[in-house]
Amino acid sequence: MSEFFTVSVLVATLAGGIRLATPFLLAALGETLGQRSGVLNLGVEGVMLIGAFAAYYTALETGSTVAGIAVAIGIGAVMGLIYAFLTVVMHAEQGISGIGIFLFGLGFTDLLFQKQVGTPLPIPGVGKAPIPILSDIPHLGEIFFDHNPLVYLAFLLVPIMWFVVNKTTFGLNVRAIGQTPEAADTLGVSVNLTRTFTIVIANCFAGLAGAALALEVGIFQQNLTAGQGFIAIALVYFGAWRMPWVMSGALLFGVVSSTVLQWKTLGIVSGPSSSLLAMAPAILTILVLVLVSRRVSAPAALTRPFDRAG
């Protein structure tokens, strides 16, 4: 155990945790916004896969990771419009349509990958971009300021999204329609338009999250996300629909995962106990967040479609 508590290992563990957290943090931020407006999207995983493939394939063909990111976000927006049409316009049941989107994303990316790419070919991915000066700070620099730009972006988006939800009129509308859409409606707030917006934004985030994953590992393969989209949804619940808590949850999950990895790498744990330990990130994150946030309840109108009678 002592070999774990050396500065370099701890630094690597924390930096690794931040890297691991990035994709599901991005997805969870978007999903938080969507749920605050009363829309549940279980299709995050599927949209992440689509975003991941889009980013990978674009980068493979054009050699440009920036183009890859842009395409992933754009495809996310399209998926958002589809989901908004299903749930906001058609009033489809949100849980089922989300699962539909997930299955679609899973099958569709697999199909495209096999047709268009075939064998997994590595792409350059987004390289590290150490932040000048800050990355020179001993230890802290390596933990926080020596990552790829998408990592910075994800964490920068936390205060931005917090600000949007809590300090803008759009955010006020979102909070209102997720709770009491009828009240917002009587004040002239368009419930369905606002929800369409939040859904599109949430899906753009999911697409970006997929891109962050594919460009970090520099490859695509079937089911690349391996459940990260569902982790993101869980984080939204256990983070009690608050951006900072969702981020804390994502970080906790990432750091515990990377701690477990380090322990195994260092041979601190092995055999059956290491299999058990693989569940630690999920269990620990849920426990902590539940303890912190148990008094907050879900947006009252979550999953409830809105329609004015008459």
Partner: protein, 515 residues
């Protein structure tokens, strides 16, 4: 009056017709409102009052008819359209977001500088408006923290903040206490003094007589009369509404009080905000008596009723039915002991909006014969029973398969009452049974309550309506802050004696302070 008679009407609704599937909610209705006037809409539950106002507010599109504002024909297509034209509406059911603050509720939908929801200017202007109309409420309090009266004020502030010139108040007094109603009327008079036009809806005739300049009565979606307080009496108004003479006062014969049914000893219950909402409460209700529990709402009545019915855990103390203590009560176990409950929040606890009328009528008994046989619902038994209830309790609904949320507010109440009064309970806990219920239906509900009393039920009547409490109760118990302030017998129960207790003055103290 000649002055206002000549003024251009600020609102003219002409020939408004609105149909819902199976219902003609408004049938060629006319309504004219002059600036500086209170125009009251009267009518039974389901007469179409709220519908007419929702048409005005852009929530429903009329099938026929025209609306003129200041003489100009307009088409109001959405609430924001209505707001922009200076129309404000206080809805029958609160339209507030409980998780937002008062200021945020007010600012909702207004936009802000650079898209930011900066509350400072909102707070400032809100303070001015509050000051002018005497509507005091903390702008930074969350709605869920507020008492009902404060919520009502927040609701009104929302409209005034938007410079509404024409304000619709759909049963604003239904949930208010008498002192709160007085305060509200002061505010409303200030508004008419500012030349605002008001449409006022209420089932309480003395309020209507006190406040109105003009009265339009609706029956079955049609205008059944137009009058003024000076030209009418409460009886004549009631007759216009119901279409037959209505007995407004009633003499209740004393009955023999029987055995003790419900006994509450040393009860303490924790409220939503962590406070002790019910403190060391002792109360007994006997077979064949109605005990009225009077008090301004929010003084623990709700928590008490919830606790009796197993909806809220008990901190300490005991509840016994027929001498046997109820341990770990749940709604089902309490019901099996013969307790029925008409909750105050009928939309939340009493009925399920998405269920049909029939399903709501059977919520309690559905699993018993004859409605269920061998696990299967018996359709014909159900529909004949439900149709009988709908007829007896005069629930206005196209059919028993209509979703309950489409009924008017008062009719939802009747559905809950019909269900609870017909399940042969020995103990009845009834909260605000006639809140928002029209005169005819209130009369009917009162008769049914007395009938239950005759039949030997022990009834705990929780009500803020002093007239109702005094008329029906054999004893009146007054609560304040979760504790019993005093008890008054039928003979001594007067609005004054109870009103004093409600405001916290005991007999002895009253005379002491008179010294």
């Amino acid at each position: 009056m000649t002055d206002t008679d000549r003024a251009v009407p600020m609102l003219q609704m002409e020939g408004i017709t609105k149909r819902f599937p199976g219902v003609l909610a408004n049938d060629s209705v006319d309504l004219t409102v002059l600036p500086g006037q209170v125009h009251t809409l009267l009518g039974e539950n389901g007469a179409g009052k709220s519908t007419l106002m929702k048409v005005l507010y852009g929530l429903y599109r009329p099938d026929e008819g025209t609306i003129r504002l200041d003489g100009e024909p307009v088409s109001i297509t959405s609430p924001s359209d209505a707001i922009n034209r200076g129309i404000g509406m206080i809805h029958q059911h609160f339209m507030l977001v409980p998780t937002l603050t008062v200021a945020e509720n007010v600012a909702l939908g207004l936009g802000g500088r650079a898209g930011l929801s900066d509350m400072r200017p909102v707070r400032q202007r809100l303070a001015e408006v509050s000051e002018r109309y005497g509507l005091h409420v903390n702008p930074d309090a969350y709605i869920w923290q507020l008492a009902v009266g404060e919520r009502q004020r927040a609701e009104i502030l929302k409209a005034l903040y938007r410079d509404a010139r024409l304000l619709v108040l759909d049963e604003p007094t239904a949930v208010l206490t008498p002192p709160e109603v007085e305060e509200l009327f002061v505010t409303l008079r200030q508004m008419t003094a500012d030349d605002k036009g008001l449409v006022f809806i209420s089932h309480k005739l003395h309020e209507v007589m006190e406040l109105s300049d003009e009265i339009t009565v609706l029956r079955d979606g049609r205008v059944s009369g137009q009058t003024r307080p000076s030209e009418s009496t409460r009886e004549s108004l009631a007759e216009l509404m119901v279409g037959r003479p209505v007995e407004l006062t009633r003499n209740v014969a004393a009955t023999e009080r029987g055995e003790q049914r419900l006994a509450i000893t040393g009860l303490n219950v924790i409220g939503d905000r962590g406070n002790t909402a019910v403190k060391n409460f002792d109360l007994a209700v006997h077979s064949g008596e109605i005990v009225g529990l009077a008090g301004v709402s929010g003084n623990g009545q709700r928590e008490l009723a919830d606790a009796i019915f197993g909806l809220r855990p008990i901190r300490s103390g005991q509840i016994a039915i027929d001498g046997e203590p109820v341990t770990a009560p749940t709604p089902r176990s309490v019901r099996q002991r013969g307790v029925a409950y008409v909750p105050e929040e009928r939309m939340v606890e009493g009925a399920i909006g998405d269920f049909t009328v029939a399903e709501n009528l059977l919520l309690v008994d559905y699993h018993q014969p004859p409605y269920t046989r061998r696990g299967l619902l018996n359709r014909s038994a159900i529909s004949s029973w439900c149709n009988r209830l709908v007829e007896n309790y005069r629930v206005k609904t196209p059919d028993i398969e209509t979703p309950t949320k489409n009924l008017s507010g008062g009719n939802i109440q009747k559905v809950v009452i019909a269900r609870e009064f017909t399940c042969d309970a020995e103990v009845l806990v009834v909260a605000q049974p006639t809140r928002g219920v029209d005169i005819g239906a209130a009369e009917y509900i009162h008769e049914r309550l007395l009938e239950q009393r005759e039949a030997g039920a022990a009834i705990l009547l929780i009500s803020e309506d002093l007239d109702e409490v005094i008329q029906l109760s054999d004893r009146v118990v007054v609560v304040l802050e979760g504790q019993i302030m005093g008890e008054v017998d039928r003979a001594d129960a007067t609005p004054r004696s109870i009103g004093l207790l409600m405001s916290g003055v005991r007999d002895g103290e009253a005379s002491a302070s008179a010294d």
